[in-house]
């Protein structure tokens, strides 16, 4: 069977939006479909892309910067958002909904429109503004956009649900796993397996047999998955 995978609609939308220069985009949906990868690589990322992984314990230092000891003195280190501002680059903010209240407020300010956004360097007093080309791609695993704060949604005019892995990611898998990875990404509950699981299985089975590889990656589902692979081998 020849393996050709058409680009799913969600990924066509992502490419259209980013190539058109839309600079605030939310990608949401099941984990392991390549949302972060897309944020880091698709559209205009010539000036680089800076990743922020949000969690409850993060502070504004990760966003704007912090003082760091260097020998006998302290030096200022820019945060990811300020770096991206100054270079006209992209910020990829993963799981922004997990950020604490004050960090979220700061990010809302940083991700505001270029006309409204500004930040004063605490050391130099220099006023930073986002340079042309600055863009933000936010990713989250929430399934319902209503779970996100309204202020956040307002700053991101485009939200695309990513329910399929990107074909280029699928093509890195062995042919017999590609369709399974495609369909499993958006399956329900215990039927869902991420691209990471497929990649790990694909890698592992090159050095151990399929049974052990499946047991290590898919746990108690391994027997059923091996049966499916047997049936898939028919054509």
């Amino acid at each position: 069977m020849s393996i050709t995978i058409d680009t799913p609609k969600c990924w066509q939308d992502v490419e259209s939006v980013l190539n058109a220069g839309i600079d605030r985009v939310i990608l949401y949906g099941p984990p392991g479909t390549g949302k972060t990868y897309a944020g880091l690589h698709y559209g205009n990322v010539e000036s680089g892309a800076y990743r922020i992984i949000c969690n409850e314990d993060m502070t504004s230092a990760d966003i704007t910067g912090y003082m760091k000891p260097s020998g006998n003195e302290w030096k200022w280190v820019d945060g990811q958002a300020v770096k991206a501002w100054d270079r006209g680059a992209r910020v990829v903010a993963d799981e922004i909904n997990l950020a604490s209240g004050d960090v979220l407020s700061l990010m809302l300010a940083m991700f505001d429109t270029p006309e409204s956004a500004e930040w004063e360097h605490p050391e130099t007093g220099h006023i930073h503004r986002p340079q042309p080309g600055f863009s933000v791609v936010m990713t989250t695993n929430v399934e319902d956009m209503d779970e996100l704060p309204q202020a956040l949604k307002d700053r991101f005019p485009v939200a695309i649900r990513i329910d399929k892995p990107h074909p280029s990611a699928l093509m890195t898998l062995s042919p017999d796993l590609r369709n399974a990875a495609m369909a499993s990404a958006d399956a329900d509950g215990s039927r869902r397996f991420s691209m990471r699981a497929f990649k790990a299985f694909d890698t592992l089975r090159k050095s151990v047999d399929d049974t052990d590889a499946a047991r290590l990656i898919f746990g108690h589902r391994s027997s059923d998955i091996l049966d499916a692979i047997r049936v898939e081998s028919l054509a």
Binding site: R191, S223, D224, I225, V231
Partner: protein, 455 residues
């Protein structure tokens, strides 16, 4: 509690995109599991046992290779096979493919098979049994089923074993001629894009074989029925060399002419006479009609084979009609390989006669159904004359088959038919009837020898 499941979303097809599925948990009972490819829903047993596992495999193979919308009825009509045969032939393909994928399909049984075999054997339900054997072919369930049939009907079981062996042989041959990839291919079939190529390649020919070895078509009231048609013999079953008559399609003709006359004699009870032939009526008949009264009958049935081999012209047919006033006279001939082309017509119906005789088609093809049709027009005790050279053929190729000969012999016996080979024979027979003689059962052509063989 075990929560084993199937993963049909891991399967790819050439004729549809891979999507997520909803899989529910059921039991390993026959008939409880199913697959709905269109809506991507499946029900499979969730047990950790081997039976549950092979049922899951069976359903996954359906999801992998079967037609998306099930067995299309329009396809069945187009390729001239019954939908029932297509369904069980697909079960056979699925089981064989699952076996190829490494599953032990011998485990695919739930214990009900032997009992089902006993019931079918007891009722001589040949067609149902053929389909059951096909659905279970290649698994131990088929052996259980055949044992059940054998306990009630050894002859039928022996013949079913021939069918079973033939099915397995055909699978092996298909594997040699093609390969597993081609037999499980879901590329759209070349001339029937609604079904996968693998289905057309294997399932359809198997369904045709099943139809050939089956002996009845329930939708056609004049088609072969098991009572008339003996179970095909072993040689025929092996090759699938079993002919089938075409479906009867009646052409209604206007009958503007009217003829009158009497034909044949029949005896009726009478209270007056010389020789008491019905002495039992002394006790049973209030009118004590113990004598016979002879009266001329108006009717009878004449069935005329108008196929090419009979070389009958209009004058011949008119000659028969004139010698059989008041009879039902029916002509028949089938256009070989056709469907829907009229192949039976009533030329005269108890005094009303056509003014133009239609040309016959080229072949016989519909002999058995025509005999049944004619028999349905006959009244009790009336003579039945069949003008036919004794060469009865199938509807598809106009070829002779043993099973069709045997079927016609059974019909001749059952209905007391007097066969004559040509017009002169028919006229002679009609004259004998007119003089009051009874016509004996008589065969013509090939049927003479066949009848001798089976008597």
């Amino acid at each position: 509690m075990s929560d084993r499941t199937a993963f049909p979303e891991w399967l790819s097809r050439d004729d549809t995109a891979t999507e997520s599925w909803v899989v529910s948990s059921g039991t390993p009972q026959r008939g409880d599991a199913w697959t709905d490819i269109t809506n991507r829903r499946m029900r499979v047993p969730g047990g950790d046992d081997e039976v549950s596992r092979v049922i899951r495999a069976h359903e996954m193979v359906h999801a992998k290779v079967s037609p998306i919308r099930g067995v299309p009825t329009d396809l069945a009509a187009e390729v001239d096979v019954s939908p029932e045969a297509l369904v069980v032939a697909e079960e056979f393909r699925v089981n064989m493919l699952a076996s190829q994928a490494g599953f032990d399909m011998d485990e695919l049984r739930d214990g009900s098979e032997k009992r089902a075999g006993e019931l079918m054997g007891k009722n001589t339900a040949w067609n149902d049994a053929v389909r059951a054997v096909c659905a279970m072919a290649g698994t131990k369930a088929a052996d259980d089923f055949l044992r059940g049939v054998a306990s009630q009907n050894k002859e039928m079981a022996d013949n079913l074993r021939v069918v079973h062996r033939e099915l397995k042989k055909r699978w092996k041959k298909a594997l040699r001629d093609h390969d597993v990839d081609k037999l499980s291919s879901t590329e759209p079939a070349r001339f029937h894009a609604s079904v996968p190529a693998g289905f057309m390649r294997f399932t359809v020919p198997i369904a045709k074989y099943l139809d050939n070895v089956s002996s009845c078509d329930n939708e056609d009231p004049y088609a072969s029925d098991p009572g008339d048609s003996p179970i095909p013999d072993g040689d025929a079953l092996k090759g699938g060399e079993v002919g089938r008559f075409a479906k009867l399609v009646e052409r209604t003709l206007p009958k503007p002419k009217h003829v009158d006359g009497r034909f044949g004699r029949k005896r009726k009870p009478s209270a007056i006479g010389k020789h008491p032939r019905r002495i039992d009526r002394m006790l049973t008949d209030p009118d004590k009609r113990i004598f016979d009264k002879r009266s001329k009958s108006k009717g009878g049935v004449i069935l005329i084979d108008q196929s090419g081999s009979m070389s009958l012209d209009d004058d011949d047919i008119w000659s028969i009609i004139e010698h059989a006033p008041g009879c039902v006279i029916i002509g028949y001939a089938h256009e070989t390989g056709s469907e829907g082309v009229p192949n039976v017509w009533v030329l005269a119906d108890r005094g009303r006669v056509v003014d133009n005789i239609p040309y016959g088609n080229s072949g016989n093809g519909v002999d058995g159904p025509a005999v049944r049709f004619a028999a349905s027009k006959r009244r009790k005790g009336e003579p039945f004359v069949w003008v036919c050279d004794g060469i009865v053929t199938d509807g598809l190729r106009d070829s002779q088959y043993t099973n069709l000969d045997l079927e016609c012999i059974q019909l001749v016996r059952k209905h007391g038919i007097h066969m004559v080979p040509d017009v002169s024979g028919a006229v002679d027979a009609l004259k004998r009837v007119a003089s009051g003689s009874r016509l004996p059962i008589q065969y013509t052509g090939t049927l003479v020898f066949r009848a001798t063989d089976v008597s």
